[in-house]
Amino acid sequence: MHNDQEKVVEIRGLVKSFGDNHVLKGVDLDLYKGENLVVLGKSGSGKSVLIKLMVSLLKQDEGTIKIFGIDTAGLNLKELNKFRLRIGFSFQASALYDSMTVRENLEFPLVRNVKNLTKKEIDKRIEELLDAVALPKTINQMPSELSGGQKKRIGIARTLILNPEIMLYDEPTAGLDPVTCIEINNLINEVRERFKTSSIVITHDLTCAKQTGDRMAVLIEGQFNSVGTFEKVFEEATDQQVKSFYDYNFIK
């Protein structure tokens, strides 16, 4: 089904260990333009490590990561920074700068990376994004005054302010109540429509996976064993671990 589509991410044979802790043992993964790919896996299975490798927050031991056709291992710092601006990273704990207001949080990456913006243009862009995440009223609040769900939204807005082509969401619904979860899932789908992003959504929440994902990939024992649509991965699952993951998460 994807043969005619452009690949934006191509990962081959990715290996990453921390000492004796062999986290990724040969990961292959493709992300096609415009799709939402959900990465599932137990806590500690290396999901975060995988996307951190993609933006060079960590360095792989072996394997290649090609994003937009660029091999990330060969980049110098300047090239890497330019490349990083094309990727949005939404952190698990939101990672809002807690000494800055919401406004300053959004302004900080913008004014440092886009030169010669007028005050008006900055204000407009910030308003636009707060609008997109439906939180225009929080503009002068501190992160400590926001709820978990609001923090996630502001974190996503901050990432979107530089117009990334790829979004990486690290457990966007972790620690949120079910209603807020659904709101965030909707936001992820809206972001794709509005900002034309291709996304990887990391989660261990199957509702989130089903709602946001075009394809699923299940990370087990440092590898992706089953990749495909939700139905294919779970309803036809033969792998015992995939099955148990499904049974565990789903109340049938």
Binding site: K52, V55, L57, N81, K82, R84, L85, I87, F89, F91, Q92, A93, A95, L96, Y97, D98, S99, F108, P109, R112, N113, R158, T159, L162
Partner: protein, 265 residues
């Protein structure tokens, strides 16, 4: 016996390994500071903000401590000097003690506790909550924005605070001398300035700069390399204080040796 040897040896080599790789890591951190400090962006606003924070945080405690040290040190020294009929030397003695040793040392130790720990905790919590990673992925250099600004601010501010401490301590001392020996303020300060030389002032400033740099860079290093998890933040703050105090004593000792070598050369 052989068994216990086998157990001890790996533990020992592992500890040594850790020690030396930690040392190398710290060295690389300091090296990175000197590599990056010269190039833009300079983050002047953040440096100013940090200077203000540092001054604001330490001022109350430094004022109190400086003042009390001035009074107490004067009162404690008076009997000894009086015994030799040299109570009139009090201003000179206090001046030398405060400017050469007490001022810089006391200020630096207090700042380690107030400033070093808060830098360690702040950067540590930013590390734990992935705020540093967030800067990195949005192409902002967190080392420049966090480490260089705070280290420079501490390096500039400690000498200023030291001068302030010197002044407050001398004022405390003056109150005591004025009450007991009935010396006027102008006489007191003439004696104070006669007792100290250019070398004293110069070495005090150099020393304060070094102390300030130490407090800043150690706080940042501990925060930047804090282990993930909430307890990492407390650890970073705590070990920033311990480490910078230790280094300040070592530096004090070394600088004193060097200055004395120059003085009596």
């Amino acid at each position: 016996m052989a068994e216990s040897n086998d157990v001890i040896k790996p533990v020992l080599t592992k500890k040594l390994d850790e020690f030396f790789s930690g040392l190398a890591k710290a060295f690389r951190f300091v090296k990175r500071f000197f590599q990056e400090v010269w190039f833009p962006p300079y983050e002047f606003r953040e440096i100013l903000r940090q200077c203000y924070e540092i001054g604001y945080r330490s001022l109350p405690l430094i004022s109190l401590t400086g003042f009390i040290i001035g009074i107490v040190f004067t009162n404690q020294s008076r009997p000894s000097l009086a015994e030799f009929g040299a109570a009139s030397w009090l201003p000179a003695l206090i001046s030398i003690a405060v400017v050469r040793a007490l001022g810089p040392l006391v200020t630096a130790l207090i700042a380690s506790g107030k400033v070093g720990s808060s830098i360690g905790a702040e950067i540590g919590s930013m590390n734990v909550t992935e705020q540093i990673d967030a800067m990195e992925v949005s192409a902002i250099n967190p080392f420049k924005y966090l480490v260089i600004t705070r280290t420079l601010a501490a390096t500039f501010m400690i000498p200023v605070l030291v001068m302030y401490t010197d002044f407050v301590a001398l004022m405390g001392s003056f109150l005591s001398v004025n009450a007991n020996e009935l010396v006027s303020m102008s006489t007191f300060f003439v004696q104070v300035f006669e007792a100290i030389s250019f070398l004293d002032i110069f070495s005090s400033v150099i020393k304060s700069l070094i102390f300030g740099f130490t407090i800043g860079i150690v706080g940042c290093y501990k925060g930047y390399n804090s282990s993930r998890g909430t307890e990492g933040v407390g650890q970073a703050a705590n070990s920033a204080v311990v480490m910078s105090m230790f280094l300040i004593f070592v530096e004090e000792l070394l600088i004193m040796q060097i200055v004395n070598a120059i003085r009596y050369a």
